[in-house]
């Protein structure tokens, strides 16, 4: 159940160029959150910037009640947020529909499903929490993680993901680390073998390509999208994402309550 709460900032560090990780002490949030969900943060005390900023949950440590968010500084709100080293943060959450963490029975095919997790740029942020959950479920050896970034410096979670025990493939736009080219090329290789499910988060062009590949290969999956958001609870109808409904008709769904995670085949790009 989502709540309005004051979360204590316990740490805030720059972990990449303009990318920050803030750690919050928020036991109720840590208990309730599932991967892919986000928190809605008030960035300031006055009316400028006015709106809350939706930021995905990056990591959760239930026993210590800690929640981490990872975000890129892009404007007024995130600049403010990156400047907070302690004190209380006004937060709503957890919000949204997260990833479905599959078990072998659910896929109905393999005893332990073969999963690929694909992250592009700052889109890697919520995938770490997903991988934490997959690691807890003991599926580590069947998961392949593919991470794309502009260059080696901008690679975000690859070391942490390796520590969870997952095998990681890396692609960079300039070839400064791993494969020289788009991360979706690495996915194409993975699709040569049988895959049960793909999880992805990243820039829209990457997700568009990825959804097309999955559709062609007949592999199901989920993608997390980003839309401009105001209320975060399905009231203002701002953050619409165009999707196909069960009957194939195009309609709008809301990233805040119906998403931000959507079935890969559902999104109309």
């Amino acid at each position: 159940m989502s709540q309005l709460l004051k979360a204590e900032i316990t740490d805030c560090q720059e972990t990449g160029p303009g990318v920050w990780v803030t750690e919050l002490l928020a036991p109720s949030l840590a208990q309730a959150a599932v991967p892919g969900q986000f928190i809605h943060i008030r960035c300031g005390e006055d009316s400028d910037p006015l709106l809350r900023r939706p930021i995905s949950i990056h990591a959760v440590y239930r026993r210590s009640g800690l929640v981490k968010i990872m975000f890129q500084v892009v404007g007024q709100g995130t600049t403010w947020l990156a400047g907070r080293r302690d004190g209380l943060l006004d937060v709503m959450g957890p919000l949204g529909r997260g990833f479905t963490t599959l078990t072998g029975e659910q896929t109905g095919t393999a005893a332990v499903p073969r999963l690929v997790v694909v992250g592009g740029g700052i889109g890697a942020a919520p995938l770490y929490f997903l991988l934490q959950e997959l690691a807890r479920a003991g599926n580590a050896q069947q998961v392949k993680v593919l991470l794309g970034a502009r260059n080696a410096e901008h690679l975000l979670i690859h070391n942490a993901v390796k520590l969870l025990g997952f095998s990681v493939g890396v692609a960079t736009d300039d070839g400064s680390a791993g494969y020289h080219g788009p991360v979706t090329d690495l996915l194409a290789e993975e699709l040569q073998l049988k895959l049960d499910y793909v999880y992805a988060c990243g820039p829209a062009p990457m997700l568009k390509t990825l959804c097309g590949m999955l559709q062609y290969a007949g592999v199901p999956g989920e993608v997390s999208v980003e839309e401009r958001m105001a209320c975060g609870v399905g009231a203002c109808l701002s953050c619409v994402c165009r999707v196909k409904d069960a009957g194939g008709m195009e309609t709008y769904r809301h990233a805040c309550v119906d998403g931000p995670v959507f079935a890969a085949g559902e999104v109309v790009w």
């Binding site: 309005l4 009316s47 709106l51 839309e227 105001a230 209320c231 609870v233 009231a235 109808l237 701002s238």
Partner: protein, 308 residues
């Protein structure tokens, strides 16, 4: 202390409601707000047929405000009456349904459908939506058409009718007089101000609809002025004041200018508890300043100010 108000026949236990379109159908905010503490719940603009709304992006943040161009996305009056109203009626809080249409007949049909639906306490006629091609603001920028819409709705329903006015007109008082003359039981003001935001990096408008409606604290002085002017010209018609209310003190500005009731809109997005904070803050203010009746505060700031 008595905070009960009568907004043109809608009896509210306190003067606080929600601005249409910012609170969904109320149920979305149940986790954060005890809805039963509200004076009334004003729900999303409802049309005869379901509407998909405008293409995204639908919002843009601006200094102390935001532009929106949702485009009246709603499930249509039938679903509102059949599926949503039973849930809302169970709360026992007056529900005000904002209605919109492309034609006079649309407005009348929506009003007729909602007449007698349990829990519906009144209608707010949206003749000021800036984000739809047909209807909306067209009806709200000409006094004659505005009075025609008002008459059409009034003759289709027994419910109290509030007409929501647009600030995007030359003279708001002329519009207020026209709709009051056509039988409006109350007026609500203001709807959003039309604006454009441009993405300088992309060199394109931010919103898919190009123009949007500006709301939030940025418009508050404009809204307070609108309430002031209309109350001054027509002191007897109750006004539902709105525009950038975030706190009880903001709401009190509207009441002191002449509003009988107030609506929290964009403020809900910033603080999901804003409505309750306003209810509690008004009660606290009344206690602190020894006002027993909320009606004593309505228009009080205009006392002893001479009319030109």
């Amino acid at each position: 202390m008595n905070t009960l108000v009568n907004l043109g026949g809608i009896v509210m236990k306190n003067p606080v409601t929600t601005a249409s379109g910012t609170f969904g159908f109320g149920l979305e905010y149940q986790t954060y707000v005890n809805l039963q503490r509200l004076g009334a719940i004003t729900v999303k603009g409802t049309t005869l047929k379901p509407r998909l709304g405008n293409p995204p992006p639908r919002i843009a943040e601006t200094p102390s405000g935001m532009l929106n161009a949702i485009g009246l996305q709603n499930p249509g009056v039938e679903r509102v009456a059949e599926e949503i109203m039973p849930q809302l009626a169970a709360l026992g809080v007056p529900v005000i349904i904002n209605i919109a249409g492309d034609t006079l007949e649309d407005y009348a049909q929506v009003a007729r459908r909602l007449d007698g639906v349990t829990g519906v306490a009144g209608l707010e006629v949206n003749i000021s939506c800036p984000n739809v091609k047909k209807g909306g603001i067209q009806f709200g920028s000409d006094p004659f058409t505005a009075s025609e819409v008002t008459r059409a709705v009034k003759s289709a329903t027994e419910l109290p009718v509030i007409v929501k006015l647009s600030p995007n007109v030359t003279d708001l008082v002329v519009m207020a007089e026209a709709v009051a003359g056509a039988g409006a039981d109350a007026l609500s003001m203001i709807n959003t101000l039309v604006g454009i935001a441009i993405d300088v990096d992309r060199r394109r408008p931010v919103l898919g609809n190009i123009t949007g409606g500006l709301s939030g604290p940025a418009i508050r002085p404009v809204a307070v002025r609108a309430v002031w002017q209309v109350h001054r010209a027509m002191p007897l018609i109750p006004i539902l004041g709105m525009g950038g209310i975030m706190t009880a003190r903001d709401a009190l500005e509207f009441i002191l200018a002449g509003a009988t009731a107030v609506a929290v809109g964009t403020g809900n997005f910033v603080n999901p508890r804003a409505t309750l904070d306003v209810v509690e803050g008004i009660e606290h203010y009344m206690k602190e300043h020894s006002f027993n009746e909320i009606s004593e505060l309505v228009g009080l700031a205009q006392r002893d100010i001479n009319k030109e």
